[in-house]
């Protein structure tokens, strides 16, 4: 059953077509990788799904419901969460608060409730705190609860972004280069974490990644973008040997040899 479908979506920036007529269907509970050389349009594709850009053409459906062109916060509410290529944490806030912000779509505290601190609001806050803490434990950041996010080591910041995204209770999780800047040990941990997230929570995971080892290990499907166009799709094995893909990455000469 498909969880997220993009139907021939297109995005122009001035004269440049960043994404052209791309259609992808993401199965529920799958792990899918979107790869391609730099400037292929991968992040633009993510930005259209999460509502940061609205596509110039085409449609996006989540769970059979249209979400094309909705504001990012509505899309987040509907169940798509993401991380960012260049980490975007709430730097001055504590690690726990970062995760708690992720929970906001599920908190009901209103203006008056907050002002008068009703028992309902208090217990909700308390619950959110515990939930956030357990998520931090889940991704392995339990010891950093009170630190400012900006003081975390790089790998931990990536993990915190994932924890924050999980806090929104997503159906679909988009990871934009989650392993960038990680050492091999951290990458292995991350690989396990992604698999675990899918297995524990039945979340559909889509990732952009340049680390091919990671991509090949965990993806069930791989889509390849080049110059904004979908040039290949298939199982990891198929992609590895696809001449179009090799050409896109290495240039024409690579094949003729």
């Amino acid at each position: 059953m498909s969880m997220l479908t993009a139907t021939s979506i297109t995005k122009h920036f001035g004269g440049l077509t960043a994404v052209k007529d791309v259609s992808i269907n993401f199965e529920k509970g799958s792990i899918t990788a979107v790869i391609g050389p730099n400037g292929a349009g991968k992040t633009t594709f993510f930005n259209m799904i999460t509502g940061i850009y609205s596509p110039d053409g085409g449609e996006i459906h989540l769970d059979q419901k249209p979400i094309t062109g909705l504001k990012p916060n509505f899309i987040a509410e509907k169940g798509i969460a993401r991380t960012f290529q260049n980490i975007r944490l709430f730097k001055e806030m504590s690690v726990l608060e970062n995760v708690m912000v992720g929970m906001h779509t599920h908190l009901k505290a209103g203006f008056l409730g907050t002002l008068f601190s009703t028992p309902k609001v208090r217990s909700e806050e308390e619950q959110a705190r515990y939930d956030a803490y357990s998520l931090l434990e889940y991704v392995g950041l339990a010891d950093w609860v009170n630190h400012q996010a900006k003081n975390l080591p790089y790998g931990a910041q990536r993990k915190l972004e994932i924890a924050r995204a999980l806090a929104t209770h997503p159906k679909v999780l988009l990871l934009d280069e989650p392993a960038a800047g990680m050492n091999p040990k951290e990458t292995t941990e991350l690989t396990d974490l992604i698999l675990q997230i899918r297995d524990d929570k039945q979340i559909t995971v889509i990732l952009i990644e340049h680390d091919m080892k990671l991509v090949m290990r965990i993806s069930e499907q791989i889509y390849v973008l080049d110059h904004g166009q979908l040039i290949a799709q298939g199982l990891p094995e198929e992609i590895r040997n696809n001449p179009n893909v090799i050409e896109a990455y290495l240039g024409k000469s690579a094949i003729s040899v």
Binding site: I52, N73, M100, L115, R164
Partner: protein, 421 residues
């Protein structure tokens, strides 16, 4: 001095003895002497010491309230200078509340607002127009107006609501712009509001133009009129108490965290499901409402409003308070507002009087004239040397052990039912 400080931080006995001593000494000297600015300031200083003690919050608040509600008014009532102290305290209270309001907008939500005084003006004018004879002139045949001093209580709320409403009306278009541009646009709005108040004496005379509105009634309750600064003082304390309570509630709430998230990263917070415009509007509206409330109080205290009280300099003054104290830090902002308003209203004028009278220093050198220079130096100095302010904002810290313990207890209890996080 260092030893003293370390002794202070380590020993609670020392803390309580020191504070008691200061409060006792200063309040008796304040009570007995004709005029002693020194003891008045030292008495206020005890609040800061109290903040740095290691007592539990309940004790701190209790002691603070005791000093504010009982010790200060009684001590000040001893000499003929009572009203002077109370006047300064009232103005400081008004500024503290406004600075706390601006802190929501600038400190929490990160939106630089250079026209904040407009909301203060709105509150003041709403009460001024409807409660004074001006209303009679406006609604010719109405027998309801003017509403009089009994309506003050209603207008505290009305002032807050009107200011909040304007905060939203202005906010909707204004919040489409960001950063520096927002600062300029708010500055523009602040000026527009002032110019309009200054000119709305024609075609219909609503604000009486530059002449201002006089004869605004003082607050009345069960036949008692709050005429003196020492009466208004208690009103200010109550409203200020409410403002501090509300700010602290919001700071650690869903809304407060959303503000800070937007301040840190708009795109990420949107991706986390936070509606940008709505959250920013809440910041504008709440910040404005505190200012509006204080505007009503200000009008009732002075019995007169005119546009000269709401200039750009006023907006900048409030901003200086927030930045000096520490953006986003509630105790910091209170300290910053207290320092600046007391500096302005008491210390600078006292020093000026002293210099010109006793030392015969020419007028040109009087420090009271140097207000802008001082503000400028404070702004530049703070920006370069201590951008986080006198008392930097802190994140709330949680005891990890508590979280862990309660979590494991909960997990064992609900092991079967919880699948989602």
């Amino acid at each position: 001095m260092k030893k003293l400080a370390s002794l202070f931080s380590s020993s609670r006995t020392f803390q309580s003895v020191l504070i008691l001593l200061i409060v006792l000494c200063t309040s008796t000297s304040l009570y007995l002497m004709d005029k002693s600015v020194t003891s008045f300031l030292l008495l206020l200083f005890s609040f800061l010491l109290l903040y740095y003690t290691t007592f539990s919050n309940w004790i701190k608040w209790g002691a603070g309230a005791l000093i504010a509600f009982a010790v200060i008014p009684v001590a000040a009532s001893g000499g003929p200078s009572q009203q002077v102290y109370m006047e300064v305290a009232v103005m400081a209270g008004i500024y503290i509340a406004m600075a706390l309001g601006l802190n929501i907008v600038v400190g929490f939500a990160g939106l630089l607002d250079l026209g904040f005084v407009a909301f203060f003006a709105l509150g003041a004018y709403v009460y001024g127009i409807f409660a004074s004879p001006q209303a009679q002139a406006l609604f010719h045949n109405s027998s309801i107006f003017p509403l009089g001093g009994e309506s003050f209580w209603l207008f505290i709320i009305v002032g807050a609501l009107v200011a909040a409403l304007f905060g939203i009306i202005l906010g909707v278009p204004v919040l489409r712009v960001k950063g520096d541009y927002l600062a300029i646009v708010t500055l523009g709005f602040g000026e527009i509001i002032r110019i309009v108040f200054n000119n709305l004496d024609k075609p219909i005379n609503i604000t009486n133009g530059a002449l201002g509105i006089s004869g605004i009634p003082q607050p009345k309750l069960f036949g008692f009129t709050f005429t003196q600064a020492s009466h208004i003082y208690f009103l200010v304390l109550i409203v200020l108490g409410f403002v501090i309570y509300a700010v602290r509630r919001f700071e650690d709430s869903k809304l407060g965290r959303s503000w800070k998230a937007i301040r840190e990263d708009e795109i990420a917070s949107q991706a986390m499901g936070i509606p940008l415009v709505k959250t920013k509007l809440w910041a504008f509206a709440l910040g404005a409402s505190f200012s509006g409330m204080m505007g009503v109080l200000f009008a009732a205290k002075n019995q007169f409003v005119d546009p000269t009280s709401f200039t750009l300099l006023e907006s900048i003054t409030i901003l200086v308070m927030v930045i000096l104290g520490g953006m986003g830090s509630v105790p910091g902002v209170i300290l910053g507002a207290a320092i600046i308003s007391i500096l302005n209203l008491q210390i600078l004028t006292e020093i000026t009087l002293f210099l010109t009278q006793n030392l015969h220093v020419p007028e040109v050198f009087s420090p009271a004239k140097m207000q802008r220079l001082l503000f400028g130096l404070v702004l530049v100095g703070i920006a370069i040397f201590r951008p986080q302010g006198l008392i930097p904002a802190k994140n709330k810290t949680y005891k990890i052990a508590d979280l862990k313990a309660k979590l494991s207890k909960k997990n064992t209890k609900t092991k079967e039912t919880t699948t989602s996080i």
